[in-house]
Structure formats: structure tokens, C-alpha cells
């Protein structure tokens, strides 16, 4: 069974509410308030960040697909438990 030893913190960038504040600043910066002094470098940086976020998300979704039960429909249908307690 393969379990990576260390948590990969990258995902927080687009997922988490904990980083919510930072993320907001980032995305706000992207849409409206990039002032002229920020110029090209800033835009590039944001574009790069955007791509990174997209990659992280793609990688998560891919990992879900890898681990996801292949025959979801059958599995869910057959997942019948007896009542407990």
C-alpha cells in the first residue's frame, strides 16, 4: 500500500478556506485592481499562478479517477448492509 510520507501542501491554494484571504487577494488582483504599476510582470505571475492552480486541480481529479471504484454503479447497488447496533 503506497502512502506518501508527507502531505503535499500545494492543494491549499485553490481548495482551502484557511488560505481564503490570500486567495481572494490573488484572484481580486487578477480581475480588477491590477494597477498600471503592477504591469506585465504581475500579469504573468498571475497567469502562472492560474496555471498552477489548474494543474493542482487536474492532478486531484486524476487521482480520484485512479482510485475510484471502476464499476461505480454495480458497487453502489450492491453496497447493502444489515442494520447495526
Amino acid at each position: 500500500m503506497r502512502i506518501p510520507k508527507h502531505a503535499d501542501d500545494n492543494l491549499t491554494a485553490w481548495w482551502g478556506a484557511a488560505t481564503d484571504q490570500k486567495q481572494k487577494q490573488r484572484s481580486d488582483g487578477g480581475s480588477g485592481d491590477s494597477s498600471s504599476s503592477d504591469s506585465e510582470a504581475g500579469t504573468k505571475k498571475l497567469a502562472k499562478r492560474g496555471e498552477e492552480l489548474k494543474d493542482e486541480m487536474d492532478s486531484l481529479i486524476d487521482e480520484i479517477d485512479e482510485a475510484l471504484e471502476e464499476n461505480a454503479e454495480e458497487f453502489v447497488k450492491n453496497y447493502v448492509q444489515r442494520g447495526g447496533e
Binding site: D8, W15, G16, A18, D58, L60, I64, A67, G84
Partner: protein
């Protein structure tokens, strides 16, 4: 009670999916799970070195009961240690299944429902003073327990006649009573089973069976800490508001369907409050309470988180997408659905809902998010690993855990329950410990020493009882 004993029993869902014609009954899969736990106790019902109990419950579910814990923090750590113990046993069972030349997959889920309407539970136990009027306590606690799901629910995709719903709680739809004595039929919010596993004159057990099993450490911690805090307020007669609900059982289901958490409920006195408002009222009372009462640091921490959670739920529940199970899972589903362009009816949606709870860390989606750093943790892997074999040091579980280790090293026959240790070849020596706060392991060590000296295997001791 300022010092309290806590315990949680978690029932797991289990299924074997054959990959071919040859299959394996789930009873057999469970036998394989237990096979690795070599013991002199009854098969399918054993105590572990960490003081916990592991057994097969009604309906063929593996069930893990934490050892007695003296704090919410320990309780969550020992509950998680149980997941890991079971995961190890699962890997062993999978090997045995392969040896049987059956091909397929064994899956174990820490959730509370299947898709056809069966439920299995997650039971919280709180030790309470015998002096407190139990029915008064239960009535006071019920409005809190009914509404707390807005931050303790594990989330569930439900298909009903009018379509697909994302519900807050797994368990809500399976509750039919306020208070009752049975757990399998007519499941209630609070169960009256009164097995304190302690001095009955002094204590009774509060058995809360309405909760969902939690994957998130944070959700689990807040669930236990807030409940303990409200309990302490009730015991101290601090609650001066009446939130008795007109239809508590209906309210539980209605709240579960309302992910805004803001729809109003009718109280017995005719007023209307949303679940969020009721929680807010309890939380504000608790803030006043801790100013003047002796309250443990952990319960205070629980209060801080509780306040934060309610603020987030008021503004935007998605702010809790790293902390609260039902919100974490919903976000995962939304992301997946958007990315793969699915409808909520897609079987993959139901599968993700289920697989969020898979205890195998290489398969479970909660574990995937945890690995990615997408959910908040409160404890370290080292703490959880330690709790797999080391009992809590500040409760009776310490004696039990240490005894099990000693007995195994010395090949001594034994049999246990929560407040008794029986040993000897005729199990004729008995140590009773009716005080769950007792931690003195010297007594147990001394007992084992005596036994080694007298060579128990040959001598039949007259009935020896050591009262503690």
C-alpha cells in the same frame, strides 16, 4: 462534572466484491479480520493493547470501542487509532482471502448508511453523575443534539422521489424517537441504556446515538467538546433558556435537508428559530458560563472553534471546507462534477460519497485530501500511531492495556470486560476496578508478579478477588 470519561463506539460498513464467480460471505471476511488478534478471549470480541475493544456487532459490522478517555482530544486520537488498527487487519484479511483463492476486493467504510436505507451507528458515551435527573438532562440536551448536525454531519447524497439531495447528516433519516431503550428499531437521539461500566451508585452513562461517524479530526473534536460543554452547563443548572422543539424528530430530518442551516423550526413555546440560531444561543450561553465556571482548556478550545464555525456558517458554509465533513465532501463532489461535466445522478457521485469514508488510506478520498493538505488536522500521525498500542495514561484503560501486554508476554490466560480482569487457568483470579479514573498499574503488575511466583499453571488458586 469537570472530570469526565468519554468513549465512542464506531460501527464500520464492510463489503466483499468478488471479481469472478467465487465469492466470500462477509461473515468469513470478518473472521479473517479477527484472526490476527491472537488472544485467549472469546473470538470476535477482544480487548486491545491500547485498552480499546474490538468486536463483531449486530448486523455483521466490525465495531471498535475506544478505551476510556479523559478528554475530547484523546477520544478523537483513539477513535482514529481504531481506523488504523482496522486498516492493518484489513490488509491481513486481504492476504488470507487471496490464499483462499478468492479474487475480489474487501472494502471497509467509516460511515453510517448504505443506499437502501440501512444504518449503523457511531455512539458517543459520556459519564454523568447519578445525582442528575436523567430525563431533565436528556430534554435539555436534545435541542442541542438535533441542531448540532450543521457542524457535525458527515454529508450524504440522497436519491428520493423528488430527485437528488445533498444532506447534511448520514444518520438523520434513521432517527425515529427522542429517547428510547433500543438501538436497532426505533432509533432515538438518546438511548437510555445505562451501563456506566463504573460504580452505579455514583455514575450513569449518557448514550448519544444520533451522531454521524466523522472522518475529519476537527469535526470529531468539535462534536465531542461542544457536547461535553453543554452537558456540563446542564449539570450546573446554567441553561436558562428553553429550546424544546415541537417536533424534534421531524426537525432532525428537516435540518439535514437544509444546507443553508437557516430555515426556521417551531419550538414548543411557539417561537421560531433556525438551527444556526439555536446553536448560537447555546454558544453565547457557554461563553458566559466559562467566565465563571471551572472548564477545562480543551472545552474552552472547543468553544472558540464553535464560535468560529457559527460565524462561518452565517456568512458562507464553504468557509469551512477544510474543517467540517459535510462541507469538505460537498466541495469535493462539486469540483469533481464540474471538472468531469457530470450530473448529480451519475453513479460516480454516489461512489465518491461512499469512498470518502474508505478507511484504506490509499483508497479513501478523505485521506486523499488529507494527504494533499486540503483539510485541517489537529493531531499528528505520531500521536495516532502511538495510540494504537499505548493506552491513555489517565484512565482505567491504562491498567487494562498494561495487563494485556504483560499477560501476553507471560502466556497467561485471561478474560476481560470494562471493569474486570479475570485470569488464571480457571480464570479464577479477578481484579475489579469500578473506578474508571483509577490508573494505578502497580496493582496489576504486582498481581502478575504474584501469579508468576505461585506458578498458576499448576496451582489452582482458591478464588482470589482484588477489589480496586
Amino acid at each position: 462534572m469537570q472530570k469526565r470519561i468519554y468513549g465512542v463506539e464506531t460501527e464500520y460498513g464492510i463489503i466483499f466484491t468478488p471479481d469472478g464467480r467465487k465469492t466470500l460471505p462477509v461473515e468469513k471476511a470478518i473472521r479473517f479480520l479477527f484472526e490476527k488478534l491472537i488472544t485467549t478471549e472469546h473470538f470476535l470480541n477482544v480487548f486491545l493493547e491500547n485498552g480499546a475493544r474490538f468486536y463483531q456487532d449486530t448486523g455483521c459490522h466490525p465495531e471498535y470501542a475506544t478505551p476510556e478517555c479523559a478528554s475530547p482530544r484523546d477520544l478523537v486520537i483513539y477513535d482514529r487509532a481504531g481506523e488504523r488498527i482496522l486498516e492493518e487487519l484489513q490488509l491481513y484479511a486481504e492476504e488470507k482471502i487471496r490464499e483462499e483463492r478468492v479474487s475480489g476486493k474487501l472494502s471497509i467504510f467509516k460511515n453510517n448508511t448504505d443506499f437502501v436505507g440501512n444504518s449503523y451507528g457511531c455512539h458517543e458515551n459520556y459519564l454523568v453523575d447519578r445525582d442528575v435527573d436523567f430525563y431533565y438532562l436528556a430534554e435539555q440536551l436534545i435541542p442541542f443534539l438535533v441542531t448540532r448536525q450543521i457542524f457535525t454531519g458527515a454529508g450524504k447524497v440522497f436519491q428520493t422521489q423528488d430527485g437528488i439531495h445533498y444532506c447534511i447528516s448520514q444518520r438523520a433519516q434513521h432517527i425515529y424517537q427522542k429517547i428510547s431503550g433500543t438501538t436497532t428499531n426505533d432509533r432515538s437521539i438518546i438511548n437510555t441504556r445505562d451501563e456506566p461500566h463504573a460504580d452505579r451508585e455514583k455514575y450513569r452513562r449518557l448514550h448519544v446515538i444520533v451522531g454521524d461517524s466523522n472522518m475529519s479530526e476537527y469535526t470529531n473534536f468539535v462534536k465531542i467538546a461542544t457536547c461535553a460543554l453543554v452537558l456540563q452547563m446542564i449539570e450546573d443548572n446554567f441553561i436558562n433558556r428553553d429550546f424544546t422543539l415541537r417536533h424534534p424528530v421531524k426537525a432532525i430530518k428537516d435540518i439535514s435537508y437544509d444546507t443553508t442551516c437557516k430555515r426556521k423550526l417551531r419550538l414548543e413555546n411557539g417561537r421560531e428559530y433556525s438551527p444556526l440560531e439555536i446553536q448560537r444561543e447555546y454558544c453565547e450561553m457557554a461563553k458566559k458560563y466559562v467566565e465563571q465556571a471551572a472548564v477545562s482548556d480543551q472545552l474552552r478550545q472547543g468553544l472558540t472553534e464553535w464560535d468560529h464555525i457559527l460565524n462561518c456558517l452565517e456568512e458562507d458554509p464553504d468557509k469551512l471546507d477544510r474543517k467540517i465533513d459535510w462541507i469538505i465532501k460537498r466541495k469535493l463532489l462539486e469540483k469533481y462534477i464540474a471538472q468531469r461535466n457530470l450530473s448529480w445522478h451519475d453513479p460516480r457521485v454516489f461512489m465518491i460519497d461512499l469512498q470518502y469514508h474508505d478507511i484504506r488510506r490509499d483508497r479513501g478520498f478523505f485521506h486523499l485530501l488529507e494527504r494533499k493538505g486540503a483539510v485541517d488536522r489537529m493531531f499528528t500521525d505520531a500521536e495516532i500511531e502511538k495510540a494504537k498500542t499505548e493506552p491513555p495514561q489517565d484512565t482505567r484503560a491504562r491498567m487494562r492495556g498494561d495487563f494485556i501486554k504483560l499477560a501476553r508476554q507471560n502466556n497467561i490466560q485471561y478474560d476481560l470486560d470494562w471493569s474486570n480482569i479475570r485470569l488464571g487457568n480457571l480464570l479464577n483470579v479477578r481484579v475489579i476496578c469500578n473506578n474508571p479514573f483509577e490508573t494505578d498499574t502497580e496493582k496489576v503488575t504486582e498481581l502478575v508478579r504474584t501469579i508468576q511466583r505461585t506458578n498458576l499453571r499448576r496451582t489452582s488458586l482458591s478464588k482470589l478477588v482484588i477489589q480496586s
